[in-house]
Structure formats: C-alpha cells, structure tokens
Symmetry: C2
Subunit: 404 residues, 2 copies
Amino acid sequence: MNILIGQSGGPTAAINASLLGVYLEGRKHKEITHIYGAYNGIEGFIKRNLVLLDGKFDEPQQADLLRQTPSTVLGSCRYKLPPVKREESIYRQIFEILSEYEIGAFFYIGGNDSMDTIDKLSAYGSLIDSPVRFIGVPKTIDNDLMFTDHTPGFGSAAKYVNATVREIIRDSSVYALNSITIIEIMGRNAGWLTASLSLLHKNGEDAPHLIYLPEKPFSVSAFLRDVRAELEKHKTVIIAVSEGIKLDFEDHTDDLRHQVLDEFGHVGQLAGAGKALERVLRREIGCKVRAIELNVMQRCSSHVASLTDIREAETVGREAVVSALSGLTGKMISIRRLSDRPYAVAYEAIELHGVAGLEKKFPAEWINDEGNGVLDAAHDYFEPLIQGELPVKWENGLPMQYVL
Amino acid sequence: MNILIGQSGGPTAAINASLLGVYLEGRKHKEITHIYGAYNGIEGFIKRNLVLLDGKFDEPQQADLLRQTPSTVLGSCRYKLPPVKREESIYRQIFEILSEYEIGAFFYIGGNDSMDTIDKLSAYGSLIDSPVRFIGVPKTIDNDLMFTDHTPGFGSAAKYVNATVREIIRDSSVYALNSITIIEIMGRNAGWLTASLSLLHKNGEDAPHLIYLPEKPFSVSAFLRDVRAELEKHKTVIIAVSEGIKLDFEDHTDDLRHQVLDEFGHVGQLAGAGKALERVLRREIGCKVRAIELNVMQRCSSHVASLTDIREAETVGREAVVSALSGLTGKMISIRRLSDRPYAVAYEAIELHGVAGLEKKFPAEWINDEGNGVLDAAHDYFEPLIQGELPVKWENGLPMQYVL
C-alpha cells in the first residue's frame, strides 16, 4: 500500500518535523510502497495536487534541514469538510482518489479543523467499509487541543516568546523614566502561550509584571488600577496580553466605555488588543507606552526552536504510522505526561471523536485571584517543553531551509 | 588614572560587547587604576550615578554572558548637551565630577547624539586645558553614521531581519490563495537595514519582491501599480518597507490623497507605515494583507547576533582605549573596509567633529530606477556583516543574560 501525508491549519515551527516522522517511519516498513504528500492539505488533494515524496528526506542532511524549516513544506489549507449528509459527493471523490493512488493510510497534521476532517473521513470510511486508515497528528502553537498533555509546535512557540520577551525586558528598561511595554501574544481563545511567560519569573525576572489571559473577563478599569499599582513599584512595567482577551464592561464609567469601544472596534472580541490598550494607557496614564506584537514570528521562528518540541513532533509522526499499521483508524496521537521531573511522556492513539470542536483552556486554578497573573504552580507544566535548542545549520549567515 | 564608560541612545545587540572591549583593554594597562561605568549615560553621570566595574567582567564566563546580553547593562539616555555658550555650568559640573573621580579618559558608546556629546566635551576640555580624553565608540542599528564603513550593532540587526524574514516567507506562502505580507523595518531616515534584505535574493529567495527605502520619495499610486504587477507574477507578495519612508503626493488622485492622509496621519512622515499601507491595500486591492512590524526585536535579538558584528563591537571598544592612551581625544573609532573578499577591516581614530549631526544615507546607485528594489551590487557590502553566529549559552531553555 501507499501512504499519504497532508498538512493543514496555521504554520508552526514543528509541523515539518511531524512530516519527517511519518516519512522516516514509513520508509522503515516493507508494506509501504510509496509515500505521497498532498499540497495544501485536503483542498489540494481533492484537486489531485500530489507529490511523490520517496527519497526526498532519506539523507541525514535533508532530514536536518526539514527539521529546522518552519511552516509547512507541503503548504496548508483552512478547508473544512461539509457534513456527509449535505455533500456526500466530496467524500465519494476523496475516496476515489485515495483508491486511485492506492492509499492505505492518510496522516493529517493539523489542529482542531484537521482533526475534524480526519474524524469525518474515518466515519465515512467505516460507512462504506473502506480499508483506508485515518490518523490525526496534532499541532498548534495555541496548545488548545483536548486529550493531549500539550501539542507539538507549542513548545517552540513558548521558547521563542520567553527568549524574546527576556530580550525585550532588557531593551525596555534602559532609560531613567517611567515606561510601559505591552506585548501581545497569540493563542486564540486559550491563554497557554501568554501564560508560559511566567517561566521568566522562575528564571530571575520580575517581568512580565502583569499577564492577562482570555480565560478571565478583561476589565479596562481593573487593568488601569493594576498598571497604576505596578508603576508605583517599577520604573518599567511589562505587560503580556493574549490576543484573545474578552472585554468585560461591568465596572466601567460611561466615558471609559466609550473610549474602549472606540479603540477596540467590537465588543467582546479584541483584535490588536495591545495597540488598543496602548492608546488607552497613553490617554489615561500618560507615560511612555509601547505595544509590541510578536506576530507570526511566534509560530515560525525555527532558528530558536525547542529541541524537546521538535523531537516530540517527529515522534508523534512516527507513532501515527505505527498506529495505522497496527490497524487503527479515526485516532489522534496524543502525548501523555508520565512525570515532570525527570520529564517523561508516553504516546497514545486516542479516539478522535470528541477532540474536534473542543478547545482546551488554560486551567483556572493556575490563574491568580486578581486575574492578572499566573501562579508558580504552572511552572512544572511549562518548563520541560522549552528545554533544549535545536542545533540549527547556518549558511552564508542565514539559517538553511528545505524547500520542496 | 581612572577611566569612565557610558552608553547612550537606542539599544542594540552589540553595545555591551563594546563595553566589554573597553573594559578588557582597560584592565590590560597598568596606568589605568579603576574602571567606572555611568548609569544612564551622561545624564546619570551628572547625578553621580556611577558604578565601579573593577572585577565585573574578568572571568571568561562573565565576558561571554555580557557579549550575549542585548541592550545596555549601564542603561542609556537621550540627553543632548546644550551649547557651552548657553549653559556652561553643566560643563563645569561634568569636569568637576570627572576630576573628583580622577577620570583620565571617557568612552561614550552611542550614535549621533552621543558623538555630539563627546565632541562638545572634548572641545570644552581643550578650552579649559583639561587632560581628560574623550573617545566616541559608535553603535546604531540604523548604520547612519558618517565616516565609518558601518556601525557596530548593524550587522546583528541585519542578521536578525534576514533570518526572520526568511522564516516569514515560509510562513506567508502556505495557502493556495493570493496574499500580501508587508514587513516594516527600522532605520529612521536611512534605508540600510531594510535594504540588507536584498541578501535573501542572493540566497535563493524571490522575496522580498518589493523594497522601499526612505532615500526615494514614496508614492502610493506607484506602490499600488508595483503591488498589482507582482500579484500577476507571485501568489504571495512580500514587501519590505522602511519605517522612515517619505510620502510623495504628486501623482495621486484626490480620492487616494484623502485615503493616504487618513491612514498616515501626518504628511511626509510615516509612523506605522506598514499598518497604514495594509489598510490602503485592503481597500484598493482587496486580497489577504498582513502587516508585520519587526519592532524592537530587530535591535535586541542577541540570541541571533552576528559573530562578525559582536567581535567588531568589542574591537572598537578596545581600540578606543588604545587611542586614548596614545593621547588622542575628540575622536571616534571608525571601521575602514580594506576588502570584501576576504573580508578585512582596519580601525581608525577619526576626527569627531563633522560626524555628529550628519546622517549617512543608503547610496542612490544601489537603488533600482523604479525605486522599489535594491541592486545586487549592494550584496558585497552587506554579506560579510551578517557572517557567523555568536555561540549563545542557554540555561533552563532560555538565553542567559548578564544583569549588573
């Protein structure tokens, strides 16, 4: 039989390592003849946009380059399969192409939507008695997938934001005057990546002095009180804020409510939260304020990837192949943590149904009562995930990358 | 005698390496008894905010940490000395403190304003027959100082933006749809840092497809024509734009002129140029557009510093001490390039008078006729400056830093 790999959803620094894991494990098994890649995920597959991967990553040098290349060498998509009842023809088409290419197993590397795709395809597969196996390989910097201790891609993003915010702390505190730096961090509706910055406290930094997550309603009045209190204590105040924080208007004055509405545009959902808060602080407090978005660098900075993360991402890919060959389908490879110290994990193929469509939030018990900080209890969770540095090959002053 | 070191102006990844150079060279000479640092540059010095540095960086491990710590361990200031004629009392005060601490030489690490300070102090020194020597140690990521081939700090910033934009290119091109990514780069009124991205072309990348520098007037009409033309050729268009581009309204329609005024706020000077252009493109072209600011990460990302740059920054510091001890004053240590291949430089103490107040622009002959790209002729200039990676020490998953 042949196997097929697709990548889907937003980029991370670890997706290509998972692709490599599927590939290298696939090459070890005699029953697998060819390994295909689908360009642009299931969307490209439907258009027969396939590439034969055989021989592409066998050399250690090729494999090393692929590991340190961010994003997805196969491209990606944001395509969500319609329900079978509404559009069965697409399912028929997909299984036709699968059979045309003699695909025995399909590995889909992605987040929530990709797990939904795998779930639907495996359900349809059993409906029509197809022998094709479908295995989901998780990835997301948001770390918001259920039933896995964490997701590949998160550790590298957490390492990047911690290393970079430590550098920004040095940069922000050089002048002998009061200033505020707001750093906006990705993560959609989950605060994991922002909360990981509490690791800096464990490593000797006072900052970030305030951390706001989407898991608690965000009140601008309380925010102003928090910032004023920190300015009493520190010359430079560093604030980390999740892109997904949700506005709570309850205790705002009319004037402040108007301001906030002006700045944020929409009630409840903040886009560019950092910039909006910068303008509010400049008006209400008046000292030097700067907002910094870590933007896509959070998810693509492979030059500072976590070795732990890249290795796990590769192993998750390998385990997916092992699971498929053992006859499993409709599963996602999940990481179960066995111990924090020494850090140890096990990999399990878990039921996909129930993963898709749910978001795993940052635990309320790790957020302080004021809703403006993360408790030290979270350190043991985060710490192992950013350990180790991927040894990156540079050429001519630049990190090398693999382009398919 | 004792010597004094101060750091001033905006942070870079290489300022502490220059401090280390002054320190290590200073420790080698018997005639130097103590080495003082001024917190927050000349501003802190006036307040007697001094620290005795003796013994702080003698161990190789301390020195290594200092080299990889971004920004300024001594803090910085933006203070500009008034002319002697207007406020001689400040000069008298400074020379009083210099004599109180038996300072024989003052080394000021900084950009344009800091060179102005050194220039004024040395002029006043000769006026009053002071034996104190004043030497400027250049630094700026903007690379806009006259009479030096380049400035310490620039190479590391250029390495960061090249490595990061290469990663952003991978990140931006994953979907099967047209999209535009605008990357805003620092550099004030000079295009050096933005222009350095042309190195990516030498290393196999098509992108950035368009590069706009402050050295050419920026017409939004021409920009729209350029972008439309690139979208015909590439699915993903990557645009690099200097923060300092200057608006030219000449060939704009009334409607566009209004739009541009709305978006940019001020005529002629752009702040947040990338975001403003994002909104213009979204309205005029309509495809997916994203603006990314590399922000302060450009100047403080020591975890990806250029080894060439850090070594030169240290050497410039050492040369400053050698120059002062040989009796020179009112000089700046300049880097003269002897050859591109093999790359070789010499260090010279040049007359400071005439450096301060001038800006070195990116050469017009290296910009294409359309004003939207950099010619390959610039590669030989940029290439040596980003070579080599500073070996960074990590602990607990994070880059270690020296905090004074």
